[in-house]
């Protein structure tokens, strides 16, 4: 029997996001023997898992954290956690869902640690300054850059919490209740952060327009 390591999150499993994910379903079939061997400490099997999940784990970490260096640390911490806990993975949910949750947890923990050192408001001001500097120095305005770069750059400029919430909700498919549990806040907090993220994205992507709705 083969395991589908990238089951869409619409197939509900314990420990996975309950909402419908918007990420295109990637299908990678890996024989469950690989998982069994990895659990037994087989290095080749563990490398197979690492190679399969390196990019998705790094991408999620990159979206949630501030810098490539942070994402690299989260990547390593995630696989150390997988190494430590794989024996306890029972297979009652998809392995991909489990590893995504470990990654998100590690990334959010890193954001919490950083927040205790640098208040997020300060970071936001730094980012606002950076955006203003871009505009004042004739760098290509965000709104006229290619669309994909626009959105990616705008996402990177969101405050930490808002960026994490919009990614976990809109892309990974986690519900507000699940995000609330992950960040130690309420579902209302998650909803307001999502709205804040979209409002900021609008400001950055369409700086001169005003939305019809307030």
């Amino acid at each position: 029997m083969a395991l589908n390591f990238f089951e869409p999150a619409t197939v509900l499993h314990l420990g996975e996001p309950r909402g419908a994910t918007t990420r295109p379903a990637q299908t990678t079939i890996v024989d469950e023997l690989v998982l069994a061997r990895a659990k037994a400490g087989n290095e080749a099997a563990f490398e197979t898992l690492y190679r399969h999940f390196e990019a998705p784990v790094y991408t999620l970490a990159r979206r949630l954290t501030r810098t490539p260096h942070d994402a690299e640390d989260v990547l390593q911490e995630t696989f150390l956690e997988v190494l430590r806990s794989i024996g306890r993975f029972r297979g009652d949910g998809s392995f991909a869902g489990w590893i995504r949750k470990v990654t998100a947890s590690k990334a959010l923990m890193r954001l919490r640690t950083q927040r205790s050192r640098v208040p997020e408001e300060e970071l936001s001001e730094e980012l606002a300054d950076a955006i203003a500097a871009d505009r004042n120095h004739g760098v290509t305005p965000i709104a006229t850059a290619p669309e994909r770069l626009d959105l990616e750059a705008a996402l990177a400029r969101l405050p930490n919490t808002a960026r994490a919430v919009i990614w976990l909700h809109d892309v990974e498919g986690y519900s507000h209740d699940e995000i609330a549990a992950m960040v130690g806040k309420t579902a209302s907090f998650s909803k307001s952060q999502l709205a804040r993220a979209h409002a900021r994205l609008r400001e950055m992507l369409e700086p001169t327009s005003e939305g019809p709705c307030t």
Binding site: G19, T21, T22, R23, P24, G41, E43, F46, E47, Y50, R51, E54, A55, P56, Y58, T59, R62, R63, P68, A71, E72, L75, Q76, E77, F79, L80, E81, L83, R84, M109, R112, E147, R148, L151, E152, L155, I166, W167, D170, V171, G184, K191, S192, L194, A195, H198, A199, L201, L205, G211, P212, C213, T214
Partner: protein, 195 residues
């Protein structure tokens, strides 16, 4: 009166009240705004995957090896025995200042290995079954354990050296320091829950 952004998002996600959903269905401007939010969502999901600039598998592989070796070391205690043998060999074969220096490194490393084992023994007395810890404490424990794993990975790579080096000594110093921190966290937790 148009819908707020939170209500628009709720409509987009199928979680809105009947009133909000009804308004969105009849208001072209709010409908267009919801479509714009869907476009953003699709755009985010379509962002390309990233890959790290360097391959981190060698480090993870070393941690895997260290993970296996750590259990072995704990059971057999070979590290202390090996270092004791290295100490004897060093004194017996070599002379002069260099030998003295190497012997000193061996002795100090041996002491750190013994201290490390003692701390691990102490940690085992706390056990892991049924642990109840706060999120913050659990995070601290995981971070310390991750750092220990990385030190173990480096020790594993340096394991082929017959004579302890200053680098190995520093790694064992770091390991003892981290284990000591872990014991402190566990002690505080145990005292806190009154175990």
């Amino acid at each position: 009166m148009h819908l707020s952004l939170e209500h628009l998002l709720a409509v987009r996600d199928g979680e809105a009240t009947a009133d909000a959903a009804g308004h969105a269905a009849s208001c072209p401007e709010c409908g267009a705004e919801i479509e714009r939010l869907r476009t953003i969502q699709r755009g985010l999901a379509a962002l390309p995957e990233d890959r790290p600039e360097q391959d981190f598998w060698p480090g993870v592989r070393a941690a895997l090896a260290a993970h296996r070796n750590r259990r072995h070391w704990l059971a057999a205690g070979w590290a202390a025995a090996g270092l004791a043998a290295a100490f004897t060999l060093t004194i017996g074969v070599r002379g002069g200042l260099e030998a003295w220096h190497e012997a000193k490194l061996s002795r100090e490393t041996g002491e750190l290995v013994a201290a490390s084992q003692q701390l691990e023994q102490q940690l085992r007395t706390y056990g892991s079954a049924g642990r109840v810890v706060s999120g913050r404490t659990a995070g601290t424990i995981v971070q310390i354990e991750d750092r220990i794993a990385l030190v173990d990975a480096q020790l594993s790579r340096a394991g082929s050296d017959r004579v302890p080096s200053q680098d190995v000594l520093s790694l064992w110093q770091e390991r003892v320091r981290l284990l000591d921190a872990l014991v402190s966290v566990q002690t505080s937790r145990t005292a806190y829950v009154g175990l």
